[in-house]
Protein backbone atom coordinates (compact mmCIF):
# COMPACT_ATOMS: atom_id res chain seq x y z
CA UNK A 1 0.00 0.00 0.00
CA UNK A 2 1.09 3.60 -0.68
CA UNK A 3 2.56 5.32 2.37
CA UNK A 4 -0.37 7.65 3.05
CA UNK A 5 1.05 8.66 6.39
CA UNK A 6 4.06 10.23 4.70
CA UNK A 7 1.78 12.04 2.22
CA UNK A 8 -0.27 13.33 5.13
CA UNK A 9 2.84 14.42 7.02
CA UNK A 10 4.25 16.20 3.98
CA UNK A 11 1.00 18.08 3.48
CA UNK A 12 0.95 18.98 7.14
CA UNK A 13 4.57 20.17 7.18
CA UNK A 14 4.00 22.33 4.12
CA UNK A 15 0.91 23.90 5.73
CA UNK A 16 -1.25 23.03 2.76
CA UNK A 17 -4.66 24.68 3.16
CA UNK A 18 -6.01 23.21 -0.03
CA UNK A 19 -4.67 21.24 -2.93
CA UNK A 20 -6.43 20.14 -6.06
CA UNK A 21 -5.48 18.38 -9.25
CA UNK A 22 -8.08 17.83 -11.89
CA UNK A 23 -10.33 19.42 -14.44
CA UNK A 24 -11.16 22.99 -13.46
CA UNK A 25 -14.73 24.20 -13.91
CA UNK A 26 -16.52 27.24 -12.58
CA UNK A 27 -18.60 25.18 -10.18
CA UNK A 28 -15.46 23.67 -8.78
CA UNK A 29 -13.78 27.07 -8.47
CA UNK A 30 -16.76 28.38 -6.56
CA UNK A 31 -16.66 25.46 -4.14
CA UNK A 32 -12.94 25.98 -3.54
CA UNK A 33 -13.40 29.71 -2.98
CA UNK A 34 -16.08 28.95 -0.42
CA UNK A 35 -13.80 26.55 1.44
CA UNK A 36 -10.87 28.95 1.46
CA UNK A 37 -13.04 31.86 2.50
CA UNK A 38 -14.31 30.05 5.58
CA UNK A 39 -10.78 28.84 6.41
CA UNK A 40 -9.46 32.41 6.13
CA UNK A 41 -12.23 33.67 8.38
CA UNK A 42 -10.97 31.25 11.02
CA UNK A 43 -7.21 31.70 10.71
CA UNK A 44 -6.61 35.23 9.40
CA UNK A 45 -7.68 38.07 11.66
CA UNK A 46 -6.72 40.88 9.32
CA UNK A 47 -9.50 41.91 6.93
CA UNK A 48 -7.12 43.45 4.43
CA UNK A 49 -5.05 40.27 4.13
CA UNK A 50 -8.16 38.08 3.92
CA UNK A 51 -9.51 40.16 1.06
CA UNK A 52 -6.18 40.18 -0.76
CA UNK A 53 -5.87 36.40 -0.58
CA UNK A 54 -9.43 35.93 -1.77
CA UNK A 55 -9.01 38.41 -4.61
CA UNK A 56 -5.74 36.93 -5.81
CA UNK A 57 -7.22 33.45 -5.65
CA UNK A 58 -10.23 34.50 -7.73
CA UNK A 59 -7.94 35.81 -10.46
CA UNK A 60 -5.60 32.80 -10.35
CA UNK A 61 -8.52 30.40 -10.66
CA UNK A 62 -10.21 32.35 -13.41
CA UNK A 63 -6.89 32.48 -15.26
CA UNK A 64 -6.81 28.70 -15.05
CA UNK A 65 -10.32 28.12 -16.28
CA UNK A 66 -10.03 30.58 -19.14
CA UNK A 67 -6.58 29.68 -20.37
CA UNK A 68 -6.20 25.96 -20.07
CA UNK A 69 -5.34 24.82 -23.53
CA UNK A 70 -7.71 22.49 -25.23
CA UNK A 71 -5.79 19.62 -26.63
CA UNK A 72 -7.16 17.32 -29.30
CA UNK A 73 -7.84 13.74 -28.25
CA UNK A 74 -4.94 11.54 -29.24
CA UNK A 75 -2.63 14.48 -28.92
CA UNK A 76 -2.05 14.39 -25.22
CA UNK A 77 1.20 16.12 -24.30
CA UNK A 78 2.17 13.39 -21.91
CA UNK A 79 0.52 10.54 -20.02
CA UNK A 80 -1.05 13.25 -17.87
CA UNK A 81 -4.38 14.66 -18.85
CA UNK A 82 -3.92 18.00 -20.52
CA UNK A 83 -7.08 19.83 -19.45
CA UNK A 84 -6.42 19.29 -15.81
CA UNK A 85 -4.60 21.78 -13.66
CA UNK A 86 -2.89 21.99 -10.33
CA UNK A 87 -3.84 24.34 -7.52
CA UNK A 88 -2.20 24.61 -4.15
CA UNK A 89 -2.71 27.07 -1.32
CA UNK A 90 -0.24 27.01 1.52
CA UNK A 91 0.64 29.24 4.45
CA UNK A 92 3.95 30.07 6.07
CA UNK A 93 5.19 32.71 8.47
CA UNK A 94 5.74 34.98 5.43
CA UNK A 95 2.22 34.78 4.12
CA UNK A 96 -0.15 32.86 1.91
CA UNK A 97 1.12 31.18 -1.23
CA UNK A 98 -1.03 30.38 -4.22
CA UNK A 99 0.43 27.99 -6.78
CA UNK A 100 -1.14 27.01 -10.09
CA UNK A 101 0.10 24.70 -12.83
CA UNK A 102 -1.29 23.98 -16.27
CA UNK A 103 -0.28 22.91 -19.77
CA UNK A 104 0.37 25.59 -22.34
CA UNK A 105 1.13 25.45 -26.05
CA UNK A 106 4.76 26.31 -26.74
CA UNK A 107 3.90 29.01 -29.26
CA UNK A 108 2.05 30.95 -26.53
CA UNK A 109 4.94 30.98 -24.09
CA UNK A 110 6.84 33.96 -25.43
CA UNK A 111 3.88 36.33 -25.26
CA UNK A 112 2.96 35.23 -21.74
CA UNK A 113 6.56 35.40 -20.54
CA UNK A 114 7.00 38.92 -21.95
CA UNK A 115 3.81 40.01 -20.22
CA UNK A 116 4.82 38.56 -16.84
CA UNK A 117 8.30 40.08 -17.15
CA UNK A 118 6.84 43.47 -17.99
CA UNK A 119 4.60 43.37 -14.92
CA UNK A 120 7.58 42.35 -12.77
CA UNK A 121 9.78 45.14 -14.11
CA UNK A 122 7.59 48.15 -13.31
CA UNK A 123 7.09 50.11 -10.10
CA UNK A 124 3.79 49.97 -8.15
CA UNK A 125 2.83 53.40 -9.55
CA UNK A 126 3.55 52.31 -13.11
CA UNK A 127 1.58 49.14 -12.50
CA UNK A 128 -1.39 51.19 -11.39
CA UNK A 129 -1.14 53.35 -14.52
CA UNK A 130 -0.87 50.26 -16.70
CA UNK A 131 -3.98 48.83 -15.05
CA UNK A 132 -5.94 52.00 -15.68
CA UNK A 133 -4.73 52.19 -19.27
CA UNK A 134 -5.81 48.64 -20.09
CA UNK A 135 -9.06 48.98 -18.15
CA UNK A 136 -9.99 52.03 -20.16
CA UNK A 137 -8.65 51.18 -23.59
CA UNK A 138 -8.63 47.49 -24.25
CA UNK A 139 -11.57 45.43 -25.45
CA UNK A 140 -12.60 42.13 -23.93
CA UNK A 141 -10.89 39.09 -25.41
CA UNK A 142 -12.91 36.37 -27.13
CA UNK A 143 -12.90 34.50 -23.83
CA UNK A 144 -14.45 37.49 -22.06
CA UNK A 145 -11.32 38.26 -20.10
CA UNK A 146 -10.06 41.77 -19.59
CA UNK A 147 -6.29 41.13 -19.75
CA UNK A 148 -5.96 42.49 -16.24
CA UNK A 149 -5.65 39.32 -14.17
CA UNK A 150 -1.89 39.21 -13.68
CA UNK A 151 -1.63 42.98 -13.10
CA UNK A 152 -4.31 42.70 -10.47
CA UNK A 153 -2.50 39.78 -8.81
CA UNK A 154 0.73 41.82 -8.74
CA UNK A 155 -1.01 44.93 -7.39
CA UNK A 156 -2.99 43.19 -4.66
CA UNK A 157 -0.03 41.10 -3.47
CA UNK A 158 2.63 43.79 -3.91
CA UNK A 159 4.96 40.94 -4.89
CA UNK A 160 6.77 39.75 -7.99
CA UNK A 161 5.14 37.03 -10.04
CA UNK A 162 7.15 33.81 -9.90
CA UNK A 163 6.81 31.42 -12.80
CA UNK A 164 8.44 28.62 -14.77
CA UNK A 165 7.85 26.90 -18.09
CA UNK A 166 8.91 23.26 -18.18
CA UNK A 167 9.08 21.73 -21.67
CA UNK A 168 6.98 18.61 -22.15
CA UNK A 169 7.43 18.01 -25.88
CA UNK A 170 7.76 20.06 -29.07
CA UNK A 171 4.21 21.41 -28.74
CA UNK A 172 3.50 21.71 -25.05
CA UNK A 173 5.03 22.92 -21.82
CA UNK A 174 3.88 23.05 -18.23
CA UNK A 175 3.36 26.53 -16.82
CA UNK A 176 3.84 26.91 -13.06
CA UNK A 177 2.89 30.12 -11.33
CA UNK A 178 3.37 31.22 -7.74
CA UNK A 179 2.36 34.32 -5.83
CA UNK A 180 2.72 35.20 -2.16
CA UNK A 181 0.38 37.46 -0.26
CA UNK A 182 2.38 38.72 2.72
CA UNK A 183 0.80 38.74 6.15
CA UNK A 184 -0.23 42.14 7.32
CA UNK A 185 2.61 42.93 9.72
CA UNK A 186 5.03 42.22 6.88
CA UNK A 187 3.10 44.49 4.50
CA UNK A 188 3.46 47.26 7.08
CA UNK A 189 7.20 46.68 7.36
CA UNK A 190 7.77 46.83 3.63
CA UNK A 191 6.21 50.30 3.38
Amino acid sequence: MIDYLSIYEKMHDNNIMLTFKGEVTFDLINSMLKIIESRLDMIEGDLKTRKKVYNVLVECLQNLVHHIDTIDPGEEPSPYHSKTALLMITTSTDGYHVVTGNYIMNDKIEKLKDWLDEINSVSPEELRDLYKKILNNEQFSEKGTAGLGFIDIARKSGQKLIYAFQPVNDRYSFFSFQITIPKNYLQAQSK
Binding site: K48, K51, V58, Q62, F140, G144, T145
Partner: protein, 125 residues
Protein backbone atom coordinates in the same frame (compact mmCIF):
# COMPACT_ATOMS: atom_id res chain seq x y z
CA UNK B 1 -40.04 52.93 -16.68
CA UNK B 2 -39.73 49.99 -14.29
CA UNK B 3 -37.02 49.69 -11.65
CA UNK B 4 -34.37 47.03 -12.17
CA UNK B 5 -33.83 44.86 -9.11
CA UNK B 6 -31.39 41.95 -9.11
CA UNK B 7 -31.01 39.79 -6.03
CA UNK B 8 -27.44 39.08 -4.89
CA UNK B 9 -25.83 35.67 -5.25
CA UNK B 10 -22.46 34.30 -4.12
CA UNK B 11 -20.92 35.73 -7.30
CA UNK B 12 -23.12 38.64 -8.27
CA UNK B 13 -24.04 41.87 -6.48
CA UNK B 14 -27.43 43.13 -5.47
CA UNK B 15 -28.54 45.75 -7.95
CA UNK B 16 -31.31 48.25 -7.37
CA UNK B 17 -31.91 50.85 -10.04
CA UNK B 18 -34.85 53.09 -9.28
CA UNK B 19 -36.03 55.53 -11.97
CA UNK B 20 -38.49 57.30 -9.63
CA UNK B 21 -35.97 58.24 -6.95
CA UNK B 22 -32.92 58.33 -9.26
CA UNK B 23 -31.00 56.16 -6.81
CA UNK B 24 -28.90 53.40 -8.40
CA UNK B 25 -27.25 50.93 -6.06
CA UNK B 26 -24.73 48.16 -6.56
CA UNK B 27 -23.72 46.20 -3.52
CA UNK B 28 -21.73 43.04 -2.76
CA UNK B 29 -19.63 40.76 -4.93
CA UNK B 30 -19.12 40.68 -8.62
CA UNK B 31 -17.15 37.62 -9.71
CA UNK B 32 -19.48 35.95 -12.23
CA UNK B 33 -18.32 33.42 -14.78
CA UNK B 34 -19.52 35.63 -17.61
CA UNK B 35 -19.46 39.27 -16.56
CA UNK B 36 -20.55 40.67 -19.91
CA UNK B 37 -23.67 38.51 -19.93
CA UNK B 38 -24.49 39.48 -16.36
CA UNK B 39 -24.14 43.23 -16.96
CA UNK B 40 -26.01 43.27 -20.29
CA UNK B 41 -29.50 43.94 -18.81
CA UNK B 42 -27.98 46.63 -16.61
CA UNK B 43 -26.50 48.43 -19.64
CA UNK B 44 -29.86 48.22 -21.43
CA UNK B 45 -31.71 49.64 -18.46
CA UNK B 46 -29.23 52.50 -18.08
CA UNK B 47 -29.41 53.37 -21.78
CA UNK B 48 -33.16 53.77 -21.40
CA UNK B 49 -32.77 55.70 -18.14
CA UNK B 50 -30.36 58.18 -19.70
CA UNK B 51 -33.10 59.02 -22.24
CA UNK B 52 -35.58 60.02 -19.50
CA UNK B 53 -33.65 60.48 -16.27
CA UNK B 54 -34.58 61.85 -12.87
CA UNK B 55 -33.48 65.45 -12.18
CA UNK B 56 -30.79 64.12 -9.89
CA UNK B 57 -29.19 60.71 -9.94
CA UNK B 58 -27.33 59.19 -7.01
CA UNK B 59 -25.09 56.20 -7.70
CA UNK B 60 -24.04 54.12 -4.70
CA UNK B 61 -21.36 51.53 -5.28
CA UNK B 62 -20.42 49.30 -2.40
CA UNK B 63 -18.43 46.35 -3.62
CA UNK B 64 -16.96 43.71 -1.39
CA UNK B 65 -15.02 42.01 -4.19
CA UNK B 66 -14.97 42.18 -7.94
CA UNK B 67 -12.91 40.28 -10.48
CA UNK B 68 -11.01 41.90 -13.32
CA UNK B 69 -13.57 41.05 -15.98
CA UNK B 70 -16.24 42.74 -13.85
CA UNK B 71 -13.96 45.75 -13.44
CA UNK B 72 -14.41 46.48 -17.12
CA UNK B 73 -18.18 46.07 -16.90
CA UNK B 74 -18.30 48.40 -13.89
CA UNK B 75 -16.38 50.98 -15.91
CA UNK B 76 -18.91 50.66 -18.74
CA UNK B 77 -21.75 51.12 -16.24
CA UNK B 78 -20.06 54.22 -14.84
CA UNK B 79 -19.51 55.62 -18.34
CA UNK B 80 -23.28 55.67 -18.81
CA UNK B 81 -23.65 57.85 -15.71
CA UNK B 82 -20.88 60.13 -16.97
CA UNK B 83 -22.80 60.47 -20.24
CA UNK B 84 -25.82 61.54 -18.21
CA UNK B 85 -23.68 63.99 -16.26
CA UNK B 86 -22.40 65.46 -19.52
CA UNK B 87 -25.97 66.25 -20.61
CA UNK B 88 -26.10 68.68 -17.67
CA UNK B 89 -28.00 66.47 -15.22
CA UNK B 90 -26.87 66.23 -11.62
CA UNK B 91 -25.12 62.93 -11.00
CA UNK B 92 -23.52 62.06 -7.69
CA UNK B 93 -21.30 59.00 -7.48
CA UNK B 94 -20.61 57.51 -4.05
CA UNK B 95 -17.95 54.83 -3.79
CA UNK B 96 -17.97 52.97 -0.49
CA UNK B 97 -15.25 50.74 0.89
CA UNK B 98 -14.93 48.71 4.06
CA UNK B 99 -12.71 50.58 6.50
CA UNK B 100 -9.06 49.42 6.05
CA UNK B 101 -9.81 47.98 2.59
CA UNK B 102 -7.30 50.20 0.81
CA UNK B 103 -7.51 48.12 -2.37
CA UNK B 104 -11.20 48.92 -2.75
CA UNK B 105 -10.52 52.57 -1.97
CA UNK B 106 -7.83 52.64 -4.68
CA UNK B 107 -10.22 50.99 -7.12
CA UNK B 108 -12.63 53.90 -6.61
CA UNK B 109 -9.82 56.39 -7.15
CA UNK B 110 -8.82 54.58 -10.35
CA UNK B 111 -12.34 54.85 -11.77
CA UNK B 112 -12.61 58.48 -10.78
CA UNK B 113 -9.26 59.18 -12.53
CA UNK B 114 -10.22 57.36 -15.71
CA UNK B 115 -13.65 59.00 -15.94
CA UNK B 116 -12.37 62.44 -14.94
CA UNK B 117 -15.34 62.92 -12.67
CA UNK B 118 -15.14 63.36 -8.90
CA UNK B 119 -16.40 60.51 -6.72
CA UNK B 120 -17.33 60.73 -3.10
CA UNK B 121 -15.04 57.98 -1.79
CA UNK B 122 -15.88 57.04 1.76
CA UNK B 123 -15.57 54.24 4.28
CA UNK B 124 -18.72 52.40 5.28
CA UNK B 125 -19.86 53.64 8.68
Amino acid sequence: MEPLVLQPSAHTPSVNLNPTTGVCEFKGRSTPENSVEYYEPIYKWLDAYVQSPNTTTVVNLQFEYFNTSSSKCILDVLKKFVKLHNTGKEVKINWFFEDEDEDMKEAGEDYSDILEIPFEIQPIV
